[in-house]
Subunit: 407 residues, 3 copies
């Protein structure tokens, strides 16, 4: 009986891990569709390899940094708390689940630095970020490390509430990406000498859409399974995710004038923003949070491109950085009882948590990619960038049979 | 303990909702592969936006029409029956699950009216259909509204049995689509002046196949999770769905002479037809039901194209309308104990339920699209249709990078 | 209460079946991306139709061969053990789950014989293999038929351990495919008269990658749900699958010099190899097992192509045959307590089980495809092979709209 309930929790968290793992496929295909044909293979390899490196880095170092538990040396932990290999390994699927979260950081960054970043430096950055940078902040928020959460609770009546990672995962990923994007500079030919924007068109809307669908589908695991036990699961998280996604789609449809890139990313914007407060907001609140996120994405994506000349290829800073930060703040607003939420949140704690997470990530992004830039370099040669990362790095294009007939 | 069991039900129904949500991706890619290149983006946006509008329409109006429960005003309902936000929100995931069913109606219609329908009128139709038309019939069948079910039970010994919606969802969607397709008329150049059929070729078999796979995979959630509780789940529904799908594939393979469009839609035909009786038929019965559905799809798709000059682009009337109606009748035939079924069905009740659902939907389709046609119009201008819905409505094509080099 | 726990098991095994069913979509798209454009439709139809034939063959014959239970005649079994149709059909979802395993055999073979095999002979082979050949060995290993397992246990202290089918499914499929590939001979123009390899390029890396992602995602169901009950589920299987996949990715990345075909198949190689011992190995052991599998795949794929002139299009013999055999042996090595495993395995039993399974499958492949070759033929005519299986068999290409403009 007891083991049946444990088994059900293993099943529940495992499904969450599988769904978030599927989101990584989504990251890959979203990038495949958004970049030019000559960089599609590289997008696919980057996401898959970053996932592999992240898993190892989080297994050997990161998980210990965040939760003080070392899988490698502590065989008992492997069994889910029992001795040796007995038990049902609940702690192991929780590791799997959280590892797929950690691996989202390099997957987010990948979309920003696409089409011009070199391969191995990004692998090194992934190892450092997932092993040290990300779990340091993750542990502060989700494991109460260093006492920030208890200080917030004592000072403002509530700790920083980030149920499924609007800030811990998305804002951190997006702001770190901004650092990398700034250090990398825009793609060749992106702006004329006089600074005018040159359109670089995406290769494939169907692949972009497939990426978005895989992300949306998996996201319900990202959010709902963040409860990490059947005792804690709630349908409220599911419906709030749904409403925020819907709000993001419709806002992006209108603000983005039916552009397919905006609409498909609008769904993601809503989902990014709802993570933090999905367990405490009213569905109507979530709808508003998602709609605002859709507006944020379209507006700031356009500002980055046209005004600020930040060449963030997939718009990961507006999408994850800004909508994630908005989600952190929104949990403090729409989580309030006055706005239909369940209460128990402090807007001040949300502001402090959100700002510190974003600032920390931006600084870390600048430091890590800055160090790599000044030592081994982070950018392809002009020749390689012109040729495309596929032929330059992988010696094959995305449509080898068809492309060969062109030569 | 109790909350653990409730949690397991939340998990179960949630997985159903996620799987049916994934089917909407399937609808999108099935249409992407079947339409011409110049209408692929529009297919993607239509399905995603229809899903968003459907969710809101069903949340604010439709669910109340069907079940008399208003989510918006009744905060207690939001918690799954408890007070305020406590509880585990089982009722909320049930809403999510049923909302993904409701959203299937515009997704079905979308495939029939593809390549020539204008955008906003379809959004308005979606709002009306999911808010009023669909839930009105849904409530009659699944909530016993207006006493039809009890009258059938008193008159024929059994109410109308439609476990997972062969009629409530598929026949209703397909017959409503027929009304829209007839009012819209065939695509430009579909028939010569003398009425001869002109072939309009699909753009991509792999995308068509991907859509079919996503639909097939999600369909096991559509059918099995229709039990809506772990107490009611049965493996019989799963194996019946499997057998009907297999029957549909093989019948379409033979009747359709190995054509990939027929084979991939044949799987769907079998799944449409098995919904109604999947909980009461014998697997052998389901195999026959699926095979007949595969034959129906191929035969009537061909008749629509060649004989009747109905330009139903994806064949949604044969697929959902006719195979759905066949499924409603088949539950009354193969559900009988004499044919290996579990009994407790009345063929007469099945005939009445199926015919009334189909007739109601056909009439509603004619009325709604007729009103829209005479007021704001439902069809793209000839210029826009020729240019394609992608460039006309969305100002971008499905392969922007490659298409730009053509000009 | 009791039925709630049964219901949870039905849910658990069903999810496994759905995930492995999704893997068949993965097989289809992996082949679509790897073959040339002119054979993409055929790849899709082969996998879907093979799945349908496999289901029927396993339902009517195969399941009885392996487990001595006949679904067709025994109506009581249909209800999951109770009388008539009562109960929750747990045995039915177990059949569904195991049927998706059985259908993997023709899906594996399909990748080896691609681009030149004729259609109906392959359908006949599928029926024979899934009805007789596969379940004969499956029953010996997983049902203790013919006493091999008890003889091994008496002789070596442990029976042949193959938790999720490294040998029963993958090695058997891969070695059978080798027989078929040898009898079929290489594709037209694959080698010059002097025996030099001519490159035949894959059509699409994104579709190849999509196939790999679908396989990887579904594989967690393949492995974890092999426990077949919540009481037996363990997170160890999940994390071991994860670590082996990661090992396969990274080894293939390095040995395969960042080639996208190698990296995406490297993930699969690791997953093939971990099936057998995923329930008894340490995650560190699984990482090594996966990395070795990645190396095996790249090395032997290259040897087949260049040295041995075996034209195994997707490399299914190295991938499933060799990595599967390696997995069978590895369970006996890394399952030992000395190497961090849970013990209870015998290397000798693993060697005997692995070799006998591989030899049996290779011989069966030669016999079945040999008989078909000498009677009805197994290969397309030269004309049809040149034209491509799509136009030859299915009368349509993979991109009909675009391809028509070429003529």
């Amino acid at each position: 009986m007891e083991s049946n309930l444990t088994g059900a929790d293993v099943f529940f968290v495992l499904l969450g891990a599988i769904l978030v793992f599927a989101m990584h496929g989504g990251f890959a295909f979203l990038e495949v569709g958004t970049v030019r044909h000559k960089n599609q293979v590289n997008a696919l390899i980057k996401i898959l390899v970053d996932f592999a490196i992240s898993t190892l880095s989080y297994f050997f170092i990161g998980y210990m940094v965040a939760y003080g538990v070392h899988f490698f040396v502590d065989a008992a932990v492997l069994s889910g708390g029992g001795a040796g290999f007995e038990g049902q390994g609940l702690s192991l699927v929780k590791f799997f689940f959280l590892a797929t979260f950690a691996a989202a950081i390099p997957a987010i960054i990948s979309g920003g630095i696409a089409e011009r970043a070199s391969f191995w430096p990004q692998c090194i950055a992934t190892g450092l970020i997932v092993g040290l940078i990300y779990p340091f902040f993750e542990g502060i928020v989700w494991n109460g490390n260093f006492g920030l959460q208890s200080w917030l609770e004592n000072s403002f009546g509530a700790s920083f509430h980030d149920f499924a990672g609007s800030v811990v995962v998305h804002a951190v990923g997006g702001w770190m990406a901004l650092g990398a994007v700034l250090l990398l500079g825009p793609r060749l030919g992106r702006y004329t000498r006089s600074g005018k924007l040159v359109g670089i068109l995406p290769s494939s809307i169907p692949w972009l859409a497939m990426g978005s669908w895989m992300l949306c589908i998996g996201w319900f695991g990202f959010n709902v399974m963040s409860a990490q036990s059947l005792k804690g699961v709630t349908g409220l998280v599911a419906i709030n995710s749904l409403m925020a996604m819907v709000g993001g789609i419709l806002a992006a449809l209108i603000v983005g004038r039916k552009d397919p890139g905006f609409v498909h990313n609008g769904a993601l914007a809503g989902l990014v923003a709802v993570c933090a407060g999905s367990d405490i907001m009213h569905p109507m609140g979530s709808l508003v949070v998602g709609a605002v996120a859709g507006w944020i994405f379209v507006t700031f994506f356009t500002l980055c491109e046209n005004r600020w000349k930040i060449d963030d290829v997939l718009g990961v800073w507006p999408l994850h950085g800004l909508c994630g930060a908005w989600g952190g703040l929104a949990a403090g607003i729409f989580g309030m009882e006055a706005l239909g939420g369940m209460g128990g949140v402090s807007l001040m704690a949300q502001i402090i948590g959100t700002l510190s997470g974003s600032a920390y990530a931006f600084a870390a992004g600048l430091v890590i990619y800055g160090l790599l830039k000044t030592t081994i370099g982070i950018r392809l040669s002009e020749d390689d960038e012109f040729k495309g990362a596929d032929l330059a790095i992988h010696k094959i294009s995305a449509a080898p049979e068809a492309d060969m007939t062109k030569f």
